[in-house]
């Protein structure tokens, strides 16, 4: 019977490739091939319809992207969204996880409630949030208005001085609205943090108590390092996901108001499927790839400093 160390026989090779063939075929046809195609597309101008409109532009598309003010806007919007929603989302997730880790009663119910939005989320919940954000009749402003009236009734403030934000209808509040909505989906990260928290040995905390460590010190020097792999994972997933934000902007604001929510992938989509600029959109896609890769590698590189694995 052939062992691991020996070269596989012809029949073994055949079997292996046979079982793996669906993926291998897909890899060439739907991953590698398209990657090469899209790389090449970035060097041409084409509308994707008739072959005679193809024109070679070399690095022209990339140059255009550098000059295109909308690209700058899209990058800024995406960076704004990502660099705020990711840390915020992680904090919320960690906070919720720590709350759930407290051995309260009914924990599975709370966990279900916090986790549910990230599972059922999609177009349906986006529709619900559009209405939640409605400045006149929506839940958010309704609650805020009640709160203001309450404060006014207690004499703490004048009810008339409060102007409530227009949320997704305001260029100023549109991105914060989407960031707020994204925190609603923190449940998935929360579960990962919860699992990590539950794996931290109590003995570490007990030892710290003996040394007289305060709550914050215990958090900073025990909890954080112990769950750093989970932080690492959620951070990378968060970055990758947030850079690709699309559906919310497409459905709720369509890039507005005033391009406030013109996120990068939305811009790419418009260029590809509305303006039929295959070449330019492909160049944009590769730029995005490089950016995401850059930040991912950055986090991975830095992880050597702050991530502690078992047995370190």
């Amino acid at each position: 019977m052939p062992t691991l160390k020996q070269k596989p026989t012809r029949s073994q090779n055949r079997t292996g490739y046979l079982f793996a063939s669906p993926w291998l075929f897909g890899f060439f046809a739907l991953t590698l091939g398209p990657m090469v195609l899209s790389f090449l597309f970035a060097f041409i101008r084409w509308d994707g319809i008739s072959v005679d409109t193809i024109k070679w532009v070399g690095l022209g598309n990339y140059a255009r992207a550098m000059r295109d003010p909308d690209v700058g806007i899209a990058l800024w919007n995406t960076a704004y969204y990502s660099f705020i929603s990711v840390p915020l989302g992680l904090s919320v997730a960690l906070g919720l996880a720590m709350l759930l880790n407290q051995k309260l009663r009914g924990i599975s119910l709370f966990r279900t409630i916090f986790y549910m939005p990230s599972v059922i989320g999609g177009v349906a919940t986006i529709m619900m949030w559009i209405w939640v954000f409605n400045p006149e009749y929506g839940l958010l402003n309704g609650a805020l208005r009640q709160g203001c009236n309450l404060l006014a009734a207690m004499g703490l403030t004048s009810a008339r001085t409060w102007v409530l934000p227009q949320w997704i209808f305001s260029a100023r509040w549109a991105k914060p609205s989407l960031i707020l909505m994204s925190m609603w989906g923190a449940g998935a990260s929360m579960l990962i943090f919860l699992a990590a928290l539950q794996n931290v040995p109590d003995s570490l905390y007990e030892a710290a108590d003996l040394d007289g460590a305060g709550r914050w010190s215990k958090f900073l020097h025990i909890t954080v390092p112990q769950i750093s792999p989970a932080i690492f994972f959620n951070l990378i997933m968060g970055i990758i996901g947030s850079f690709q934000v699309f559906a919310q902007a497409f459905l709720m604001t369509n890039g507005g108001p005033n391009k406030a929510t013109l996120f990068y992938v939305l811009y790419l989509y418009n260029k590809a499927f509305q303006d039929f600029e295959i070449g330019y959109a492909s160049a944009l896609a590769w730029i995005l790839f490089v950016i995401i890769l850059f930040f991912t590698l950055l986090v991975i590189r830095s992880s050597k400093v702050w991530v502690y694995y078992e047995g370190d």
Partner: protein, 286 residues
Amino acid sequence: MKRRTATEYKLRRKAFRTVLYTLAIGLSLTFLFPVVWAVGASFKPLIEVYRFPPTLFPWPPQWQNYPAALSKLPFARFIGNTFVITMGATLGQVFSASLVGYAFARLHWRGRSFWFVCLLATMMLPGQVLLIPHYLIFKNLGWVNTYKPLIVPAWLGGGAFFIFLFRQFFKGIPSELEDAARIDGANELQIYARIFLPLAKPILITVAIMSFIGHWKNFMGPLIYLSDYERYPIALGLRMYQQVEGGSFVHYLMAASVVALFPLLILFFLAQRYITKGLLLTGSKA
């Protein structure tokens, strides 16, 4: 450290726990509110939606909102379409991911580790790079405006992540079972189908559920490939509703949204264990 009496400790702890409970309940309500409010709105007569102060749940509930909302656009059809797409894709993912995962885990073939690295590399690729070539490829195949671009890729390996899950799982199964079967003269396919596959039931279910949820929610794929509205899945159907009626008939839009959510909600409650496990597997892969 400050000296405290035993009762002081007990009181402090009680106070702390009360704060925690309040926090937990408060946050839960906050998390629930959008959905609860939407459900309430779906039962309201239109004027009540615009009332201030806003009411949570109307009395009497306007049950007729639902059939009214669902008849404005062919929602039953949209849901049916979603089922077709989702089942087709999920079946493909479960089937092919387990096959390929098995190949990476238990079969020995030249180049296996090389291809595995390729597999992992594809997990890093953002979909946007492939978006346009995929569309052009499918267009030239004549697959635009059909479900094929949404279903067929799922059968070609089912995605690197699920393959990885199966591989990890199959790797963990002791080789004695395999060896015994081999001695009995079973071929590879039989070993896979009769021994490994039945053992993989929990992970098959997990993958099936995760795949189902993902495809049910899929928006961009159908958006790009489907132009006939009769073929729309529920995600596009809702958007169409929003464009056609949404601004004026919020209560109907909410009813339609609730209906769209319903299968996911049910699946979530029935299979929560598996969904959570699937999620944690994502994390442990790191």
